[in-house]
Structures are given as structure tokens and as C-alpha cells.
Amino acid sequence: MKTWIAFWGILAKDVRSYYLKPPNISWGLLFPLVWTTMFFVRSGLGIDSLPDLLPGLVALSILFGTTSVLSVTVTFEKKGRSFERLLLAPISLQLLMLAKTSGAILFGTVNAFVPVAVAAFLTDLSAVNWFVLIPAATLIAVSSTFLGLFIAVSVKEVFEAQTFSNFFRFPMIFLCGLFFPVASLPPLLRPLSYMLPLTYGADILRGSISGRNTMPLGLDFVVLAGFCAVLFLVTLGNINRKWIT
């Protein structure tokens, strides 16, 4: 019970201190919105093409909503030494990092449904498989958050967290099949695409929104969950090695 009070305390503090701040909300939503509108205008297709663009908008909202805030806040707390307070708390490192990432996961998941809600007013979403979309958005949020945590543990300065996040985010946007099908990528880049968690997340989103997934959804979920587990374990190992020296 006591450890869950600590878990809730960390989550509530992070949500209040970081995720509900207007700049974070705008960064998590505005950037994907602008990005996707750009593709929408460029394609010259009408409003009926919105379901085709929606997976990209959802995926980018999650990706930017999670990685941008978490990597910066953890680096900031580490730099200001307030993170030591958490490391001194009598809770396991696993639970501590789950608490620390839960805010970002929640934020990313909520972010995912803002474009969906907007699209619901503009186009027909009756074909959407919500039982696939909701767990998919959550799992993408988990994998993106753990990627953000991995980045936070890999850098020392706040500005490094921002630039290092882009090192992962931008190639992922282009290679995950959201805007260009993986099959149309140059053969040399295709294996790289399959090494990215968002490729599988994007495939599930496409499948759930328009039914046009390229891989079996079960396989997508398993691979995405595998990415989450590996990222979390590797990051825990890095924290143990780098922060508890």
C-alpha cells in the first residue's frame, strides 16, 4: 500500500508540474497538427482522405507528446538533483521509473485522441475498430515514453535531451510507414524501418482506422510490446549503471 502511495504521489506531482502546463500541451498537439496539415495540403486530396492521414496524426501526437516532455523533465530533475529524492525513497527502482513514466504515458494516450475527436466532427469514423485503436494508442505511448526515458538516461544536459530526441524522432517519422509505405522505401532503408517500434504502432493504427495494415495485428502488438520491455529493461540497467554509481 505504502509503495502505491509513493507511486501515486510521483504521478500526481508530474502531471501537475509538467503535463498540464500550457506549453507542453501545445507542443504535444500543435506540432503534429501542423505537420499533418502540411501533408494534407500537399496531397491535394479532400476531407475524405482524413482517415488515411489520421494514423499519422495520432502517432505523431503520441510520439511528440511523450518524448518531448519526459526526456527533458527527467534530465532537468537529474541536473537539479531533485531526482535524488526519488532514488532515496524506499521503493524499488522499477516501480519508481514506472511512476515517473506513467504521467507521460497518460499524456501521450490523451494526446492521441485529440485528433481523433477533431476528425469525428469532419469525417465518418464508423469503420474504426476502437478495441484495437485504444490499446494500440496506449502501447505506442508506452514505447515512446520508454524511448524518452532511454534518451533522458543517455544524456546529461537538458539541451542534449532535446537534440537527442530528434535524432530518434525524425528518422522514425519518415521510416515508420506513416507517410511513405515501407514497401516504397529504398531496399537499404527497409530493414531499418522494421527496427523501429513506431513502424508496428503505425501499422496497427492503419489497421484499426482504415483496415489497411500490412502485417498481422497480433504480430504488431507482440513486437511493440517486446520493444517496450526491452527499452524499459535497458534503461533500468543504464540507471543502475550510470546514476547509482
Binding site: 509513493a6 504521489g9 532515496l88 525513497a89 524506499p90
Partner: protein, 336 residues
């Protein structure tokens, strides 16, 4: 690893027992095989200059760092392999105030209380109680970032004891704050101890250690030079006479010449002079003549009265004043 029984000090069951603790960062040895014990209910001082290994020792004891070797027991729990084993029993006040700048004083304390599993009502009551005790109730709703240095230090101590830990680690609690706040903090530490809290205090202020601690360990370059009660340490100065000579000029190997020419004197170099010690009263004239014969311009000869600072200097060879100045420079603080 077995605990060394010799490290356990006076009591049969020390609250903290450390044996053969070693820690190196790459090729720098921060802690070099230290052993000591802290008894229940005492204020144990860890005194040494910058880089002596004080903070590294605290980090290891509190689970923020792992030792390369050695055994640690806190309240009977073996923390050697599991640094988190005793974290529920300890409170930590680090050398820098590290609360959340965006939260108010009250919210910071409530958050820290939640980390120890305290329920909402209990943590709010405890936060209010501590804010009152530390004279911070007027600033309870203000953001921590806007606190003065002394207020930050007090709130950081309050956060360290929010869960009523039986053991409190204080790392340089009064460094860089004004005299009045430092005095208040020392009183708070003494009050805490009087209610049964065992305190492990690192400091470079000798007078602070002398005033607060029952036992003091002098740590220099990762090794403990001496551990004893303040009374026993002071006993070392009884029957000893010390004079400090200040002069201008290049001293060269003046100490060797003094010791050779004037048997019974022990000489050591200090900034801008020498410190001469003897079992009998020091005859100033011969020493001044010898210094002047060496071409040095003697500006002052001053008797040094017995103090813990003298003991520290004689054991470690480090000037206490220099240690204090260095620390203040590093912190940019005003001293206490």
C-alpha cells in the same frame, strides 16, 4: 562480507556499522577502506576538507552509490549488497538544497511524505507541524525557488525528517548560509537529537562539530585519521604549547632547521608562517632569531590556545581556516 567487530565502537550494537569501505572513481580513490560505527542516539561528526570522501561516504550509506568493497549495516540491515534495504529508516539532507523549485514549501513537504507512503491527512498535518517548527509557516504557500538560501536549507532539513526517520544524514547543513540561520539549524539538529534521532553529520566547520557531536571522525584523502569523543580529542591538547609565527619571505626548509637547532620543538608549515609546538612553553626569542637569521621578516608570534581546531591541524596537517575558505569559495556562500 563479515563486519569487522573492531569497527563497532563503544556500544554492543551500533546503529550504523561500516567496515573496510572502499570506493574509487576511475583512478581517484574517494574512500579508502574506512571503518567506523555510529551508536544509537548520538550525533556523529564526519570532519574533513573538500574531496576527503565525506559526501561519497554518505552517498554509499544512503543507497545513492555503490561501494567497490566493504560491509555496511544500518539498523541491523545488511546494506552491502542491497543499498535500498534501510532507506525507509533514514532521512537525508544533501549538501545542496534539492527540493522542487516549482512546488510550494507545503507541497514539497507533502510530496516528500508521499514517497514514504504517508497518507494524505497524515502528510498534511506533518508538513504543517514542520513548517511551524522551522518558522516557515508564512512561506508555506510560496514556491521553493523564491526562498532565501537559509529558508531553502531549513525546508530541505524538514523534508529529510518528514517521515520521522530514526537516522538522519546531514551533509554540510550550514554551509553557505547566514550566521543566524546557521545557529537556528544547529539548534534544530540538537533538538532532533534530543528526541532520539541519531545524526550522522558531515561538516568542515570544526566549531560546529565541536558544539554538536559526541564523537568525531577526521577524514582526510579517503581515510579516517582518527575517531574519538570530543573530550578525548581535546585531552590531546592538554599540556601542549603552540605558537604560530607569521613572516614574509621564502621559508624554504625552515622547519627542519628549527627542529634541529631547538630540540623539543615540533614545527609544521602553515600559510605565511610556521606552527611550533612543544611540551614546555615555547621560547619565542630563539625561534624569531633563527627565522631572522634565515632572512625572514617575522611579523607576528601568536600563542594558539587549545581547541579542537588545533587537534584537527595536528592530526591532519590541514589548516582548518583554509578548509573553510575553500568551501565558501566553492559555494559562493557567506559563511556561518
Amino acid at each position: 562480507m563479515e563486519l569487522d567487530p573492531d569497527a563497532s565502537g563503544h556500544g554492543p550494537e551500533p546503529l550504523i556499522a561500516v567496515s573496510g569501505l572502499k570506493k574509487a572513481f576511475e583512478d581517484v580513490v574517494a574512500v579508502d577502506g574506512i571503518s567506523f560505527s555510529v551508536e544509537r542516539g548520538e550525533i556523529y561528526g564526519f570532519l574533513g576538507p573538500n574531496g576527503a570522501g565525506k559526501t561519497t561516504t554518505i552517498n554509499i550509506l544512503t543507497g545513492l552509490s555503490r561501494p567497490d568493497s566493504g560491509a555496511i549495516s544500518v539498523a541491523g540491515l545488511d546494506c552491502s549488497g542491497n543499498p535500498k534495504a534501510a532507506q525507509h529508516m533514514i532521512g537525508v539532507v544533501p549538501d545542496e538544497s534539492n527540493l522542487y523549485p516549482e512546488l510550494s514549501g507545503f507541497d514539497n513537504l507533502c510530496f516528500c511524505a508521499s514517497l514514504y507512503g504517508m497518507r494524505r491527512r497524515e502528510r498534511q498535518e506533518r508538513a504543517e507541524e514542520l513548517l511551524r517548527a522551522f518558522g516557515l509557516e508564512q512561506a508555506a504557500g510560496r514556491r521553493f525557488a523564491g526562498y532565501s538560501r537559509g529558508m531553502k536549507r531549513k525546508l530541505t532539513i524538514a523534508a529529510g525528517i518528514i517521515h520521522r526517520p530514526p537516522i538522519l544524514f546531514l551533509d554540510e547543513p550550514t554551509t553557505g548560509i547566514d550566521v543566524a540561520s546557521a545557529r537556528q539549524i544547529r539548534q534544530l539538529i540538537a533538538d532532533l537529537n534530543s528526541t532520539g534521532t541519531t545524526v550522522f553529520l558531515t561538516t568542515h566547520y570544526i566549531e560546529e562539530a565541536e558544539r554538536l557531536c559526541r564523537r568525531i571522525a577526521f577524514i582526510v584523502r579517503g581515510r579516517i585519521a582518527r575517531v574519538d569523543t570530543v573530550e578525548n580529542l581535546m585531552r590531546d591538547t592538554e599540556g601542549r604549547h603552540v605558537v604560530r609565527f607569521s613572516f614574509r619571505g621564502d621559508a624554504g626548509r625552515v622547519c627542519e632547521r628549527i627542529e634541529a637547532a631547538l630540540p623539543g620543538l615540533r614545527c609544521s608549515r602553515v600559510p605565511d608562517g610556521v606552527r611550533v609546538e612543544s611540551a614546555d612553553p615555547v621560547r619565542v626569542g630563539p625561534v624569531v632569531r633563527l627565522l631572522e637569521d634565515d632572512g625572514l621578516e617575522v611579523t607576528e608570534a601568536r600563542k594558539i590556545y587549545p581547541s579542537l581546531e588545533e587537534v584537527f591541524v595536528s592530526i591532519t596537517g590541514i589548516e582548518a581556516g583554509l578548509m573553510k575558505q575553500e568551501k565558501e569559495r566553492n559555494r559562493g556562500g557567506g559563511g556561518s
